[in-house]
């Protein structure tokens, strides 16, 4: 059994799963919290976005770790044939991209008052 085979399959997918999931929760969560955060604290959306950006980044980090333990060079090999490493690299990209999307929404929640209608 190779090192790649011993590694849990789910970890390869971490970035692909956690990035979009965190972004989806952030989009819906901050939108739903807008009314509540106007009445109490204006920071609820901001805190949520910051935490979820970290979740997306964690997904990217877990996938990156899986890449390091797997067969890294398969990423650039046009022959293909390393689907786990391939998905792990997709996880790295996905985690980073969705962290960026959440960061952009975080900027919006910092700039715009939730009380503004």
């Amino acid at each position: 059994m190779t090192a790649a085979e011993r590694h849990p399959k789910l970890l390869y997918w971490a970035g692909v799963a956690l990035g979009p999931l965190a972004w989806g929760i952030n989009l819906q969560g901050v939108y739903a919290l807008a009314h509540f955060s106007c009445e109490t604290t204006k920071l609820s959306g901001t805190i949520m976005s910051a935490v979820l950006a970290l979740v997306a980044l964690a997904g990217a980090a877990i996938s990156a770790r899986a890449v390091r333990r797997g067969a890294g060079p398969e990423w650039t090999d046009p022959q293909g044939g390393g689907p786990r490493t391939f998905m792990a690299w997709l996880g790295v990209g996905s985690g980073l991209l969705f962290a960026l999307a959440i960061g952009n929404q975080l900027a919006a929640s910092l700039m715009i008052s939730p009380c503004l209608r």
């Binding site: 692909v16 979009p20 972004w23 989806g24 989009l27 901050v30 939108y31 807008a34 009314h35 959306g45 398969e74 990423w75 046009p78 022959q79 293909g80 044939g81 390393g82 689907p83 786990r84 391939f86 998905m87 690299w89 997709l90 990209g93 996905s94 991209l97 969705f98 960026l100 999307a101 952009n104 929404q105 900027a107 919006a108 929640s109 700039m111 715009i112 008052s113 939730p114 503004l116 209608r117």
Partner: protein, 637 residues
């Protein structure tokens, strides 16, 4: 089946050459005659029908566009009445979105995906046949209604309260809503088939990172269809319920809300744009690699972009609702997502440009359409980033600026790649080449005509011309730009006439194509043109992302499939390792009968709620007939 019987079964490794080919052909071919045509479950037959029908609807929708442009070519024209104009712009939008754009992309997938992944038929072929009949009946239902002056007139999005019984007491919105149900059932069926085909029927060795980019694009699109379309089905069905049995989903005086409609509609409506666009990107990747004569640079980056675009497309819908009075923070969040989707789209475009830059491009007609796509889509993307911004959107909302933007995105992003795809895959589908000379004329007429037709609409929008007006007065100063736009529309329409002429002439006397006329790298080119009923005599084994460029002469194959019945090889999801042999259904009349029963149910239910009662038993009977064991070998397992 007993072990003894299985042992006697003849396998493909016991036959060679012509004998094997003839045997497989006799098993897989569609029976001749009318009944044979009605019972076919061959993905190529259904795919061809789908493509031809979708293009027929394109021509009808295009004809409506020309009628609108004649009406708007000058001020205060009386070519169309206000009522007819309302019907025509609704029919144009509905036809193009629901009867052309989505179905034609799925149609290409129905034809090509099984060939590209190296299998003999699509998963659930009877469902595939049912899907086509539902699409056909839904389209005919809409157009026959239009011919009877019951064509919908409430816009392709049928906003309430305009589409409510109070403001539109005719059957027109019901026709629109039920046409949606028809086409969404068809689209959902195809989406399920594509997902299962890609996940479980790939040729051995075609691991996840060896799947062709067009197939990846269709896989992502299919997931979008499965998650987006239920939303519009819920919306259209609840609209019918409001109108027929007085429910109050959208009535604010009874606890409903008109904005619920907009949320449901656009939760489907924005991913719909990507359901149309993402297959276009897959076509671009396929064409570009072949004509740049090198693999697309950044294969994983392109796939990451496809997946990210798919997810992000579900977080943009509120940018269609910026002027409905939503909280500004909410609008800001959707602005952020809307602008961010430019990142994965931009990544893909840079990968394509790098591929062209590093390749040795051959500028044949398909590549010309791809280059046209890049230019037009980038322009559409730029105006998209503009309207993603709340202040700009507030200013240009419901103006011709938005009309210009979405035509740049949809025609640039989907129709240009699609026409390129027609030129690219026509030889595979028909066995004959399209004329290159007519193709170049076709491209330049389309490119010039499109820009002359739609670029002036940006300016018209910015100077205040609203959408969906059937005429305008001379003192508005919109006449010259509208005339220019109408002239461009005629040129653009001529390009499609030229495409039609090219297709007809080539079918009659086009140059014979051969198996792989473009020297392309993917598996559909490994079989004859047009492909035989069984697609491949032996299932190929994939050892490279571009299998035909690795070594076309000696593509390895697997052996051991039955040559006594329809049988396919099921492989594992990630590694595509062979798992089991699976029977594939025989031709059947039941999908057609089920589609007829479902159509009667759907159409009846816009007139009377009792249709739910008397419409269900025929559907149940046809479904029982569909799944009734027929004594074939398929059913014995």
């Amino acid at each position: 089946m007993t072990v003894a019987a299985e042992e006697r079964e003849l396998r493909d490794d016991e036959l060679n050459g012509l004998e094997l080919s003839a045997r497989l052909r006799s098993i897989w071919q569609t029976p001749s005659g009318l009944l044979g045509a009605l019972t076919s479950v061959d993905h190529k037959v259904v795919g061809r029908r789908y493509i031809v029908t979708a293009f027929a609807f394109l021509l009808l929708g295009g004809l409506l566009a020309i009628l609108m442009r004649i009406q708007l070519a000058g001020p205060e024209k009386t070519f169309l009445s206000a009522d007819k104009y309302n019907q025509i712009f609704t029919m144009h939008g509905s036809t193009m979105m629901f009867l052309f754009a989505v179905p034609v992309m799925e149609a290409f997938a129905v034809y090509l995906v099984p060939l590209m992944v190296g299998t003999r038929n699509i998963a659930f072929p009877r469902l595939n046949a049912f899907s086509y009949w539902m699409f056909l009946f839904g389209g005919c239902f809409l157009w026959i209604s239009f011919a009877l002056n019951v064509g919908p007139d409430v816009g392709w999005f049928a906003y309430v309260p305009l589409s409510s019984l109070q403001y539109t007491p005719t059957k027109r919105p019901d026709v629109w809503a039920q046409m949606i149900t028809f086409t969404e059932v068809a689209a959902l069926a195809v989406a399920v088939e594509i997902v299962v085909t890609v996940f479980k029927l790939r040729a051995p060795g075609m691991t996840l990172d060896r799947i062709p980019l067009f197939v990846w694009a269709m896989l992502v699109t299919s997931f979008l269809v499965m998650f987006a379309m239920p939303s519009i089905m819920v919306a259209s069905t609840s609209l019918i319920l409001d109108r027929l049995v007085n429910t109050r989903f959208y009535d604010s005086s009874s606890g409903g809300h008109p904005l619920l409609w907009q949320h449901l509609f656009w939760f489907f409506g924005h991913p719909e744009v990507y359901i149309i666009f993402i297959p276009g990107t897959g076509m671009v990747s396929a064409i570009l690699a072949t004509f740049a004569r090198r693999p697309v640079i950044g294969y994983p980056v392109v796939i990451l972009s496809l997946i990210a675009t798919g997810f992000l497309s579900f977080g943009l819908w509120v940018h269609h609702m910026f002027v409905t009075g939503l909280p500004q923070l909410g609008a800001g969040l959707f602005t952020a997502s809307s602008m961010l989707i430019a990142v994965p789209s931009g990544l893909q475009i840079f990968c394509w440009l790098a591929t062209l830059w590093d390749g040795r491009p051959v500028y044949r007609t398909p590549l010309l359409f791809v280059i046209g796509f890049i230019v037009i889509f980038v322009l559409g993307g730029l105006s998209g980033v503009m309207v993603a911004s709340v202040p700009i959107d507030t200013q240009v909302h419901d103006t011709y600026f938005v009309v210009a933007h979405f035509h740049y995105v949809l025609i640039g992003g989907a129709v240009f790649p699609l026409i390129g795809a027609v030129y690219y895959w026509f030889p595979k589908i028909t066995g004959r080449m399209l004329s290159e000379r007519l193709g170049r004329w076709n491209f330049w007429l389309a490119f010039v005509g499109f820009n002359v037709a739609f670029f002036p609409m940006h300016i018209l929008g910015l100077i205040g011309m609203p959408r969906r007006v059937y005429t305008y007065t001379a003192d508005m100063d919109w006449a010259h730009l509208n005339l220019l736009s109408s002239g461009g529309a005629v040129i653009f329409a001529l390009s499609f006439v030229l495409l039609l002429v090219n297709v007809i002439m080539s079918l009659r006397s086009g140059t014979l194509a051969g198996d792989n006329p473009w020297n392309a790298s993917t598996l559909e080119w490994a079989t004859s043109s047009p492909p035989p009923p069984q697609n491949f005599d032996r299932i190929p084994v994939v050892k490279h992302r571009d299998p035909l460029w690795l070594d076309n002469a000696s593509l390895p194959v697997v052996a051991g499939l039955s040559v006594e019945r329809r049988e396919m090889l099921v492989t594992s999801l990630a590694e595509a390792e062979p798992q089991i042999r699976e029977a594939s259904p025989e031709p059947s009349i039941w999908p057609l009968l089920t589609a007829i029963a479902t159509s009667v149910f759907f159409i009846g239910s816009i007139f009377t709620p009792w249709a739910v009662l008397w419409g269900t038993p025929p559907m149940a009977v046809t479904l029982i007939g569909w799944f009734w064991p027929s004594g074939s070998k398929e059913d014995e397992e």
